[in-house]
Symmetry: C2
Subunit: 414 residues, 2 copies
C-alpha cells in the first residue's frame, strides 16, 4: 500500500487542476440531444382517474408565478398559511403540521422513518396497494412488520384491529382511509382510542380521501395523518402534507436513534416550518412554486368549506353510481357505507379487457380513467371525481364515453 | 390480555362506522383560517444569492401548464428528454440517469442510501456545508464516516485524497464541485481514476456548479454526479438530477441489503424512468409540472450550448470581480483557478455587520444576496450569478446597490 501511493502520485503529476485548463483541454463527447430542440407541447386531458386530477385554474396559475427565496418572509408566511390550511383540512390543532417536499410516498416514508425504530413492532392494514407499500417500507427500516392481509375490497373492523393489537403489541398501526386501489373507505371512529388503550399509535393515509370523506384527526384520536396534493386538492404532485399528535411527537422526541433520513427528519423539518419555538434554520430548499400551488388549493377549500366539499363528493358520486348502473355496470364495493366518495371502483364488465376501455377513452376523448393497481389489477376500473373535477357534467361526459366504449370495444358475447 | 379484548369490544359497540354517520355526528372544531382568504401575492425579486435563482421566462411559463398523468405517453417522453438533457449536461452516456422528486438534499441522500450499506467506510471532503451534510447522512445510514475536515475556503488535492484512500479504504468518496457555502471550485481531473485505483467510487455534488463550471462525468471517471434544479438551471426547486456509472450501478445491484428508503431506491426509480429494459412500473407520482420546468431548463441549455454557458459564467463573474474590487471588497477565495464561476464569496468588509448589507439590498432594491452558511457564517457575503441571471446588467445593478449599502449601513471607522 505504501508504494502504491508514491506510484500513483507520479502518474498523476502532469494533470491540470484549474477548471480553465480543464475546459480548454476536453472536447464535448455527448452532443446536445435533438429532442430538446422541439417545443414543449402539453395536451388537454380530462383526468378522471385516481389522480393526479386536473388543476383548479387558480392553482394552475399559481404554478406560473415568479420565484422567491425559500427563506424570504413571504415564503414563511405562505408556509404558515399552508399549516393553518392543513390543520383545518385535518381538523386538528397539532403544532407539528407541515408540508413535505415529496409525493404521497414521501409522506408515508417520513411517517415511518420518524415513528419506527429498528425492531419495533408495526401492524399494517394490508387490504390493497397502500398497505403493501407500508409493509415494504417498514421492512426496509428494520421494523417487525405484521400485515393483516385482506383481499381487495376488504376493510378492518375494530374487532380485527384489536386482535392484531393484542397479538403483536405494535407501537404503530397503519390504516388507509381511502384505499384508492380498491375504492374502499375505511371507517375511522374508535380506532385511535382503541390503539391508545394498547399503547399503539395510529397512522392514517388520507391521500385519496382528503376533502372527499370526513376526517377529524383530533376528535378521532389519530396520531399521524398524511395526504397528497394531486388528488382532491387539485394541486400538482410533488408535495404532501402531514400532521403529528402530541403523542406522536413525544415518541419522536424520545427516539433512541436518529431517523435514517435527514431529508425526512420531522424534527428538523418542523423547525424549518416554524413548528417549534426556535429560530427557523435552513434544512433544504423547499419547492417554492409547488408550495404556492398547495397554498392556493387549501385557500380554495377554505372558500368552499370542508362540509360543502364532502357533500359535493358524496352527491356527485351518488349521481355517478346511478349512471354506471344504468349502463349495466357493477360497483366493486357492495356496502354503500364503505364506498370511497372520491375514487369509485367498477367491476371490469364480463367479456371485456379493461385495457381496451381505458384506451378507448384516452384515444377518443382525451379522458383518463384507470384500471386496477397492485392487488386489484384486472378486477376493477377506477374513476376519480376529485375536487374541482367532481361535477355532474364530468360524470355525464364520462358515462357517455363509457357507453360508446362498451359498444365499440371488442368483447366476447355473454 | 384476553379479558381486555372483551371489555374493549363492549365499550366500542355503539359507534358508527359509516362515513355518512360520522359526518352527521361531528361538528367542525377547527375553523377555516382567515389568512387563506387573502389572495396570493408574490413580489418580484432579483435573486442574486446562491439559489434559488430567478426562473427563465420559458421555464416559468411551463410551470403554469395543465396537468397530465404521470404515466401518460407524453410524460414518458418528457422524462426521456430530461434524461438526454442530463446526459448532455453531465457529459455522460450512463443509462442510469434520472431526475429525483426532491431537492438537492434528496439527491445526496439518494446517492448515499443506494451506494452505502451499514458499516461501509465513507470518505468525505468536508470543507464547507455540503460535506457536513454528507457526513450527517452517512452516519444516519450507519456507515463508518471519515471526514477530511478543512477550513472554509479549502479544497482537496489528489495527494490529500490519496492519503484518505490509503488510510480509510473507503467504498465511496464525496466531493463538492461547487462549494456554494465558501465559493470554492474543487478540481475534478484525476480524482475518479485515483479512487478506482483504490476500489473506491467517486460521488460529486454539482448542485451549485452545473452549467457554470465544466464537468465531464465520463472522461473524468466520476461514478455519481447529482445536481439541483434551482441554481444555474433556473428551474424551481423541488427536483434534482442524478446519474450513476456502470461501476456504481454494479455496486447497487450487488447490495446485501435493500436501501432504507423506498422513495429513493434508484433501482425502482430507474425502472420507472425507463433506465432498464423492463416495462415501466408505477413507483410514486412524479412532480409533473416541475418536470415540465426541468425539461424546459435543459432545453434552454441545449439551445445555448454548454460551452457557451460555461464561458458566459466565467466572463460575467470576471466582470463582477472587477466591480467588487473597485468597491474595495476582497474576494474570499484567493486562487483564481479555485473560484466558483457561479457563486462568488466576498469577505465581509471590516467594520460592517453582513446582515445590514443583505438587508439593505432586500429593503431598498428587492435584491437578494446572502451571508455565509454553516462554517462560513459571518465570514462571507455570497453572490450568485446563475444561468439566466448571469448578465452584466445584473452585475451593474448589484454593484451599484452594494456601493450605496456600504455608504449607508452602519460601520465602525477603520
Ligand atoms: C391512498 C394513496 N396513498 C398513497 C399514494 C401515493 O402517493 P404518490 O403517488 O403521490 O407517492 C396514493 C397515490 O395514488 C394513494 O392513492
Ligand atoms: C452545493 C450544494 N449542494 C447541495 C445543496 C442542497 O440543495 P437543496 O437545498 O436543494 O436541498 C445546495 C443548495 O444550496 C448546494 O449549493
Amino acid at each position: 500500500m505504501h508504494c502504491a501511493l508514491t506510484l500513483a502520485r507520479a502518474a498523476l503529476r502532469p494533470r491540470a487542476t484549474g477548471w480553465a485548463r480543464t475546459m480548454a483541454s476536453r472536447p464535448l463527447l455527448v452532443p446536445p440531444p435533438e429532442a430538446l430542440r422541439k417545443p414543449l407541447a402539453i395536451p388537454n386531458r380530462l383526468l378522471l382517474g385516481p389522480g393526479p386530477a386536473n388543476l383548479a385554474p387558480r392553482v394552475q396559475e399559481a404554478g406560473g408565478q415568479p420565484m422567491i427565496g425559500h427563506m424570504h418572509k413571504e415564503m414563511y408566511q405562505i408556509m404558515d398559511e399552508i399549516k393553518q390550511g392543513i390543520q383545518y383540512l385535518f381538523q386538528t390543532r397539532n403544532t407539528l403540521t407541515l408540508a413535505l417536499s415529496g409525493s404521497g410516498h414521501c409522506a408515508l416514508e417520513a411517517a415511518l422513518f420518524n415513528l419506527l425504530e429498528p425492531g419495533d413492532s408495526f401492524l399494517v392494514g394490508a387490504n390493497g396497494m397502500w398497505g403493501q407499500r407500508a409493509v415494504e417500507i417498514g421492512e426496509r427500516i428494520g421494523a417487525r412488520v405484521h400485515p393483516m392481509i385482506k383481499d381487495p375490497g376488504g376493510h378492518y373492523t375494530l374487532q380485527e384491529v384489536e386482535q392484531g393489537l393484542v397479538q403483536h403489541k405494535p407501537v404503530l398501526l397503519f390504516l388507509t382511509q381511502g384505499e384508492s386501489s380498491t375504492g374502499v373507505l375505511q371507517p375511522l371512529d374508535g380506532y385511535g382510542e382503541l390503539c391508545h388503550r394498547y399503547q399503539c399509535l395510529l397512522l392514517v393515509d388520507s391521500v385519496a380521501s382528503l376533502a372527499g370523506a370526513p376526517i377529524f384527526m383530533d376528535q378521532q384520536d389519530i396520531d399521524v395523518v398524511y395526504s397528497g396534493a394531486q388528488k382532491a386538492l387539485n394541486a400538482p404532485p410533488g408535495t404532501s402534507i402531514i400532521s403529528f399528535s402530541d403523542r406522536a411527537r413525544k415518541k419522536i422526541e424520545g427516539r433512541r436513534t436518529k431517523p435514517f433520513s435527514f431529508y425526512m427528519d420531522v424534527q428538523l423539518l418542523g423547525n424549518f416550518w416554524g413548528c417549534d419555538d426556535k429560530p427557523r434554520m435552513y434544512h433544504h430548499t423547499v419547492p417554492v412554486t409547488s408550495l404556492y400551488c398547495l397554498r392556493e388549493s387549501l385557500a380554495l377549500l377554505v372558500e368552499e368549506g370542508l362540509e360543502n366539499s364532502w357533500r359535493k363528493h358524496r352527491e356527485v358520486t351518488a349521481y355517478l353510481y346511478g349512471r354506471l348502473q344504468a349502463l349495466g355496470l357493477q360497483l366493486f364495493v357492495k356496502d354503500p357505507t364503505l364506498r370511497l366518495p372520491t375514487v369509485t371502483t367498477v367491476a371490469v364488465p364480463a367479456g371485456y379487457d379493461w385495457r381496451d376501455i381505458t384506451q378507448y377513452l384516452m384515444d377518443h376523448y382525451d379522458m383518463e380513467i384507470m384500471g386496477g393497481m397492485g392487488p386489484s389489477v384486472g378486477k376493477v376500473l377506477r374513476i376519480g371525481l376529485l375536487g374541482y373535477n367532481a361535477t355532474r357534467e364530468n360524470v355525464d361526459l364520462l358515462t357517455e364515453a363509457l357507453r360508446e366504449a362498451l359498444q365499440r370495444c371488442p368483447h366476447s358475447k355473454m
